[in-house]
Symmetry: C2
Subunit: 189 residues, 2 copies
DNA sequence: TTCGATATGTCGGATATCCAACACATCGAT
DNA sequence: ATCGATGTGTTGGATATCCGACATATCGAA
């Protein structure tokens, strides 16, 4: 928006790092991925990584945010409405991401990942709720975003607990009524 | 060998440029590819291109050389002998490269491309002949390399003239006797 | 012809990236 | 406990890359 163009080098480098991380995540568990692995794959210096990211969790956070945003822009296509399609695309994005992240669960790391995913979901939901020009005040929107983010994340955990037997689209469609129940979403502008 | 490690940035940038060029070649004719196209795809500045390459023909030359060398290292695997397998892998590398380069022929550009391909072939053949520790003198090896390079390039032209009906492997295998005829290759060390 | 529009190549000053080295933490082996 | 090996995070000086501007060439349209 108001930012005066970022250096192409940082865009390129960030992309190289993120792509490398996604690439590595398909092969290794999260806990086995080191900064050196990432920078080697990305063909950049290790120090440069720290120029862009705090640590590997910061990277995880930004990759996830990117993945969610891209998926949203592709699917709902600026519809800016919290309809079923949006929920489906967010949910499938999460499950895809989690599948690629770590095949085996590993205590201690999963908690951190869970927190990061949920926080990002909250941010996304809050942004979308803002755009609906709802009459509600900020505090109310914040609460709705929190509930939705915990809810949809919980749904993904439940989906994994069922050994991913049902396709994500189907699973989340049947769960949407429970997500929305009791929450007045101000989507009718 | 004796070179004291090149800066990782130049390796990365060269790879980005070359990959982008190959990528673009699959979509456009060679004559329609501009430097700006390449640098945009590679996410680098246009000036940086000229830091690494003289012009687009220099790039073409280096990409081709790279492609041939990689294919050789993969197939004959340091065998360092001019056997049938080597000819086959070189020939298929050329035909693949030409197919990806330009679908429609275009006068004036094809000549330049032809010259570059042939020159690179000559370099490759000369290097391989050197390694065979043949008793022949430099001048003789040079001549053999020239004849082989023109010969195998001619074969690829002939193959295209037949509308690529035969698989490259088959075509070149039947042509190898003609390539070798009359040339004493000092491969028996 | 003459004119815009576009591509090529070049240059000097600004900046992101690289390198080597450092301190620190973790962890398995002896 | 002590050690070596490995990973994290930081720093200052060197260098590749970026930017904006410039000159030149080509080419299709007015």
């Amino acid at each position: 928006m108001t930012q005066s163009k970022t250096d192409p080098r940082v865009l390129r480098t960030r992309k190289l790092i993120m792509d490398s991380f996604i690439e590595l995540s398909a092969k290794k568990e999260f806990k086995d991925i080191t900064i050196k692995d990432i920078t080697t794959e990305a063909m950049i210096n290790r120090a440069t990584f720290y120029y862009h990211f705090e640590d590997i969790y910061d990277l995880l956070e930004k990759v996830l945010s990117e993945v969610l945003l891209v998926n949203l822009n592709c699917s709902s296509y600026q519809n800016d409405e919290l309809n079923e399609e949006v929920f489906v695309s967010i949910f499938t994005a999460i499950t895809n991401f989690q599948k690629s992240l770590s095949n085996r669960c590993h205590r201690g790391y999963e908690d951190t990942i869970a927190r990061i995913i949920r926080e990002q979901l909250e941010i996304i939901f809050y942004k979308m709720l803002e755009k609906t020009e709802s009459v509600k005040e900020e505090e109310a929107l914040r609460t709705i975003a929190v509930i939705l983010s915990w809810g949809i994340y919980g749904a993904s955990v439940e989906w994994k607990r069922f050994d991913m037997k049902v396709p994500p689209e189907e699973f989340i469609k049947s769960a949407i009524p429970y997500l929305m129940s009791g929450i007045e979403i101000g989507s009718r502008k």
